[in-house]
């Protein structure tokens, strides 16, 4: 049941991210990208083998949550932040060079 809802939420986030990325406004595209990476991180986390009652700490008793996807997601969050900031820097470079933040006006990229 929860899987179904999680899958729905992830796919909804993905759809919204894609829709945002298709906007002409580059700021919106960047926001879309951020939503996409959130969706993917959520998926990675949900792909853990089982859910726990307590956090993944060795000194806690009971069913611990799956630590492996958490470690992966932690790395993914930090890396996607770095990539996102780089994208933003590019967006700014485009704005300076093409005097626009409308992706349709940025056509010089193919040369």
């Amino acid at each position: 049941m929860m899987d179904l809802l999680t899958a729905l939420a992830i796919s909804a986030l993905f759809g919204v991210g894609v829709f945002q990325m298709l906007r002409r406004n580059l700021i919106r595209s960047a926001i879309g990208l951020a939503i996409l990476s959130n969706a993917i991180n959520l998926f990675l986390l949900a792909a853990g083998a089982y859910r726990g009652e307590v956090a993944a700490y060795a000194n806690l008793a009971g069913q611990r949550s799956d630590a492996l996807p958490q470690a992966l997601v932690l790395t993914a969050i930090v890396i996607s932040m770095g990539g996102f900031a780089l994208i933003l820097a590019m967006l700014y470079v485009l704005s300076v060079r093409y005097k626009t933040s409308d992706s349709d006006e940025v056509k010089g990229l193919r040369h």
Partner: protein
Amino acid sequence: MTVVIPLLACALGALLSILLALTPARRLPAPALGWLIAPAPALAFAALLALSPQVLAGETLTWRIAWMPTLGLNATLTLDGLSLLFGLLVSGIGALVTIYAGYYFSGHEGSSEARFFVFLTLFMTAMLGLVLAGDVITLFVFWEGTSLTSFLLVGYKFKDEAARQAAFRALFITGGGGIALLAGLVLLMVLSGSAEFGAILAQGTQLRAHWLYPVVVGLIALGAFTKSAQFPAHFWLPGAMSAPTPASAYLHSATMVKAGVYLLARLNPALGYTDLWFWLLSVVGLTTMLVGAYIGFKQNDLKALLAYSTVSQLGALIAMIGQDTEIAFKALTVSLTAHALYKSALFLVTGIVDHETGTRDLQQLGGLWRAMPFTFAVAGLAALSMAGLPPLFGFLAKETQLATITHPSVPPAASAIFTAIVVVAGALVLAQAGLIVLDGFLGAPRRKHHAHEAPTPMWMAPALPALGSLVIGLLPEPEWLATLLARAASAASGAKVKVSLALWTGINIPLVLSAVAVLAGSTLLWTRQRVRPQLAQATGNWQLEPIYRAVLRGIDGLAWLTTRVQNGQLRLYLAVMLVSLIVMVVGVGRLPLPALALPSLALNAGALLRLVLLALTTGAALASVLLRRDLFAILALAASGLSIAGLMLLEPAPDIALVQVVVEVLTAVVLVLVLTRLPASQRARAAEFTFRQSRFGLLRDALLALGTSAVVFVLVFNALSTRPRTSQLTPFFEQNAKPLTSANDIVGAIIIDFRGLDTLIEIAVFSAAGMAIYVLLRYASRKAGDREDEPAPRYALQRLCGVGDMCLSPMLRVLARFMLPLTMVLGVSHILLGHDQPGDGFTAGVIIALGVASWYVVYGYAETKRRLTWLKASVLIGVGLGIAVINGMIAAWVNGAFLSPVDFGRWLGISAFLPKGVYLSTATLYELAICLTVLGSAVLMLDTLGRPRDADTETEAQLAAIAQLRASGAVTLPEEPQAQQQGNKER
């Protein structure tokens, strides 16, 4: 082991010539360079000679190193008769050409010609490698090597447009053939199950029976035909004569163009002995033979004439391979050797003539024999051999060719035509040889030239092969050579071939035909003054050049089409990718739709909370679409991300929830910073376009988003509902986290200890992102006209205002001042306690960065820079990465494993004094390193993204405000703003 020595000798020569070209030694006179480098190919020649007794005794020498052992691939060199014959020609003529080239270039004043020797020796190495290669991969690598190096040699006079075009043409044709060859060789490898020639050749019967056999033959023949300039791909060879003559002599007579012949001969035992092979090679080879001889006879340029006669002879060699009779392989090896000897001699002679008279035009030469007697003698000998007259070696070549073509095994229908072609081509080639001697060296000089004899080493270089042609012909039966040729022929045929080198074999059909050819050729030569102009008129100058150009134009047209399709609209690209994704998953993936039976809605408190958070994150994301102001959209994004943090907490996964919270906030801050840097007019325009989209466009985007969403749903739901419910790895981490790393936090233990190297790479990537942003924006600001490294503008007014010129209340300013030390305390606690409790170095770094960010927001860029002078991002990154690496190395020193855990506290005996949960271990140091690196990169991002442009810092209104404040005496400015504003305008 020993087979590699000749190749190594050549490679050392290449290395030596590169060293010479890179050092002041390149200014040595060219002959000295030639003499310095020539020992390398000479050594290769000697090494091959030293190996020859074993080969002549019938052995095949092999040298092998494992290359990709898991795939069963080795780099193999083998030396059998065929390789030895080619290897001797390549290295022997190579040594002569190297010496010769030195003298050839000696007259050229000014530029150093060391470059030529580099290309030449590289080519030599590639060519030697090609003929010594023992497997198809090695062969192909060297094959392409010869294509590339010959490109450099043909285009050697790169300032000459024609040379550049010829070089490109040669590369285009041989490179294109190379692609076909690669496909053919790979097929061959797959079909026979081995890359080595020995194994491939043993599988001949199976290969020929396979239904892919015609494809293999076609592809390999395409590669070989283009390389060996077979009709209709022959036209690149005459153009390639724009190479310096020594290179032409070497590449286009003795070596590279024979690579195709070599390859076909090498593979003949596996691929030959079929009708397809016979007809393909015979028809193409003989057509080339005739066309080359015919066009060659019309040439006036000595080099072009020699080039076309080379084309003709290559055709003959290819046709010989196709016959697959014993006499054919004898003819192959004899003709090959004879041609290499006389043709290299004639090319080198042409170089001498060109060098001494300044022309190669037969209509301007003549009477040279008086001025250069030795050169004339050499040319005469070589031309006699080319004409196929006794007692020279060329005679035997022509005899054996005729004997092959009149062999009873040739189908009677073709026999007459084939024989006629060989006789006619023989007559034409004889006439060409005559042209060189009669019009070039004899007769009266048609133009005044002050030719004199070339330096001795220069004419000695062609004299050696020319004399070779004579000596081999005169000697009754040179045993050694006969055995060598027999071994080579046997290797090409796959069965034993006997070779006798006796010139006189009695009166037989070949001799009669040969006499006919000589007569016809002499008649042509006698009447050349009338016949050649007539021929030139009769057939015009038809060439394949226009077709080649049309092909190139076609390719250019396709390129144009590509630029039409690739219109540069990024959204279109994205749409194409998404549609492909949808089509791929739906059409090809055939994912089963998961059963959507709704289970019972048993909602406890946790599930309900989860549901709410899922709805929140989706809703917030949706809000980011609908909200018109960019700032609000960013806030909605942050809300969506924070809801995900809440979901993480419910997992429960406190570590990543923490990271998610701080990273989400940092993301929002960075986004806002960028937003403030985009000019308001741009943002307004982009927003207008976004919200005034046509209904059709909106529908299209919505459909795309929905489609992608549906595909993702199917994928995700499938993945989630079929995922294994037990973990293979997690139990290991859970059991070993405490004993091995003394950490309670299992996630932290994975990050810091178990997967420590990943984390090291990760912080390196993160800092690379930070530095890339710095570089990008510095570059961009230079483009925009900002000055580099200028001190940040300092205006009194900005002291009161933060980011985006929003003036904030003093309360916030005081708060921000307290915030930064507070975040540092938080960060330190994360570093110290991270191993036992939620939080880690990433969180610490981002939290402190957020403290810094609050300064940027509240105090503005300039003020923050002024106050936080100690915050040097690059130093932080450097120190952070340094600590991480040194820390890992200390662990390696103590434990013998990089980044393994070491508890310094216990080591020093102070762990008892530390508070509970705090350790002094490599993990603590590592957390510190991560914190510093992340902080450094984040500050770098904030700093570069937050740095206002001069143009942004002041608007007209602001200036007016400053002026007003000044007038009222409320503020005193540190410097004259008017002057600065003036400066801005000028830029």
